[in-house]
């Protein structure tokens, strides 16, 4: 936590634009919303069914995701929360087949807009693989990438190619999926910049000339370029300072509402999703600990892990208390613990927690928790109830 955004300090020019508030131009937004041409009538646009993902490494296999199930409706925002290494990024990357060379889907299915886009694989297939099936898969997913599913990466990452202009990188994405002229694509890029609140004159700059906040906004602009139906945001604000975080989040929220895009918001900071998401999934050691309606989960936390996450963050409105961090450290995913994956660090752990892994228990409408004592926690019989 608390990573200092160096770019703001070094890039003087950028500080000027940072202090201004960003107003979303609603008309522009509506224009973009129209671009989407969709004939999908279904209820859920994304469904993950018991997805398991593993990585092959030198010592064996890392069981990064051990069975998660969720779905997303049109325009819905879901927060995917957990500590580093819990598998949330892996889960997200699986959706549009962005796993690294040694990763593969060990089980489960992914459905997008009524079509199956991923299923169990026998072994990792590198993205450069020449095999026929690999090529076929690439062809299939490339049609969906960015046009239907786009991504916003962590700002701290080197997510944009340093040797090409930012505008070029956006135009490239547009031209890949839309049959329009270069000039038209460039005009759209201008509008995108306006939409996210970056001066048009910066458009032809290089990534290293952008400050952290600007880079993030540029990436958001790029993600919106083809009017996708689903955006996956991986820690979109982690690299920024708190003020910037706030601004960006607000912008994201507004954009998402205006354009009605389904969003998965990945973060380790539970407070971030509190304001933006309708659903939340709390992930630990490759499985969901708690999943469902965000209000219910926040008010009636039914899982010790979720509790722990909440307690790690200061509450402005609540009583003054000491911040507690969860003792211990995340488990070894090559040889995960028996039974409940959280039991070594759980203050409520009992014998049954060591022997059997709990199932996802429905504690309320649209509220699941994976804990033997989920109902007790929900009702408040055990520990603290809501907040």
């Amino acid at each position: 936590m608390g990573i200092i955004d160096e770019d703001i300090i070094t890039d003087e020019e950028a500080t000027v634009t940072e202090t201004q508030e960003i107003e979303i131009d609603m008309n522009l937004a509506k224009e973009f919303a129209k671009i989407k041409k969709d004939d999908f009538e279904g209820d859920k646009i994304l469904e993950l069914k018991d997805i398991q993902v593993r990585y092959e490494v030198h010592g064996g296999e890392v069981k990064a995701v051990e069975g998660i199930t969720f779905d997303l409706k049109e325009g819905e925002t879901m927060g995917l929360v957990g500590e580093s290494g819990c598998g949330k990024t892996t889960a997200a990357f699986t959706i549009n087949h962005l796993l690294p060379e040694n990763g593969y889907i060990a089980g489960g299915e992914i459905w997008y807009k009524g079509k199956k886009i991923a299923e169990e694989e026998s072994a990792p297939v590198g993205f450069l693989s020449r095999s026929k099936e690999a090529k076929a898969k690439r062809e299939m997913i490339n049609k969906l990438r960015w046009k239907e599913i786009s991504m916003v990466f962590q700002g701290a990452m080197n997510a944009m190619n340093p040797v090409h202009k930012v505008s070029e990188q956006i135009i490239e994405a547009i031209l890949q999926h839309e049959d329009i002229s270069y000039q038209e694509a460039r005009e759209r890029t201008e509008k995108l910049f306006k939409l996210v609140g970056i001066e048009k004159s910066r458009m032809d700059g290089f990534p290293h000339e952008f400050s952290g906040g600007m880079k993030q906004r540029a990436m958001i602009a790029m993600a919106l370029a083809c009017s996708p139906s689903l955006i996956i945001m991986d820690e979109p604000t982690t690299a920024l300072d708190v003020i910037m975080q706030d601004k960006i989040l607000a912008e994201v929220r507004d954009l998402q509402k205006a354009l009605n895009i389904a969003t998965i918001l990945i973060t380790h900071d539970i407070s971030v999703v509190a304001e933006t998401a309708e659903k939340i999934a709390v992930m630990y050691a490759g499985v969901f600990m708690e999943y469902g309606d965000i209000v219910s989960i926040f008010e009636n936390t039914s899982n010790p892990y979720t509790q722990g996450l909440k307690e790690g963050f200061p509450n402005i409105r609540g009583e003054k208390g000491t911040l507690k961090s969860i003792p211990g450290s995340p488990p070894d995913l090559v040889h995960p613990p028996r039974g409940c994956k959280f039991h070594p660090r759980c203050k409520y752990a009992k014998a049954e927690c060591m022997e059997s892994e709990p199932e996802m228990i429905l504690v309320d409408e649209n509220h699941w928790s994976r804990c033997h004592f989920a109902k007790d926690l929900y009702s408040g019989k055990l520990g603290q109830g809501g907040q």
Binding site: R130, K143, S150, F153, N161, P162, H164, Q176
Partner: protein
Amino acid sequence: MKLSKFIIGRTIQVFITLLIILTLLFLIFRLMPGDPTSHVIDPGMSPEARESLMELYGLDRPLYAQYGLYMRNMLTGRFGTSFRTQNPVFMDLRPRIMPTLLLFGTSMIIVYILGILLGMFMAWNRGSKLEMGGIVGSLTFRSMPYFWFGLLMLFAFAGELEWFPTGGMKTAGVDMPAHKEALDILYHMTLPLITMVIVGIGGIALLMRQSMLDTLGEDYIVTARAKGLPENKIMIHHAARNALLPIVTSIAISIAFIFAGGVITEIVFSWPGLGSLLITRTLAQDYPVVEGAFFIIAILVLVMNAVSDVFYAFLDPRVKL
């Protein structure tokens, strides 16, 4: 505007380095064992000639005065007189410069272009038999001494098959029109060029491959994939374009290796360039020519380094010109 500033700055750097090199040369030739004058004055000269030369070089004056004179002479192109041919050194050097530039320049361009393509190809086909073959092949040729491969080429293609001449740059004694002469030179240059390219390509290809593999692990490649871009666009436009940068940076070091190879290749094929001159005159103890040839070669290396720096600045927008 900024470009010219950069060029001026770079030129000054080159100049300073040249001065240092000249100083080193001076130290080497004057302070090394043996009679220092014998390095400058032909032992077989007449006393009067010796006198005048000693005055010219100030060999009877103290060391610092000699140094000053030396610097002045070298920087104005007065490299002295050859022991062998009795010509002013520069006259012996001049006709050799172009052949060296031609051979070295052409081979460097080809080596870099082909090497980069090969490296990219190897990285693209990661894990395949082609890549393995490429790695082993590159490593094998990288390990081969230039002269041995050159001799092999000579024996096979000039000796046995007689497809190419066994040396030299032009067919002797025959007058031909300009365009035919160009073809003749090309004909003579084929084998030495092939030698330099094949032995040199391995190193560049392996570097490029490694650079590509490093680049492919970068985050913007993930972004490019996520954007649904086709494979060749990712490879070339995104990966290779970035992988090039370390290669260009390493040109400075590769140049030394290629020049060394070039010198040897010139001797093997009797190519009338600065390299073969350096060697033959060194063995003949014709020191003025050796100094001059070395100096010119050093200038060439430095200029090429500077050019590659400018080129890098064009390639990488992060570098402020």
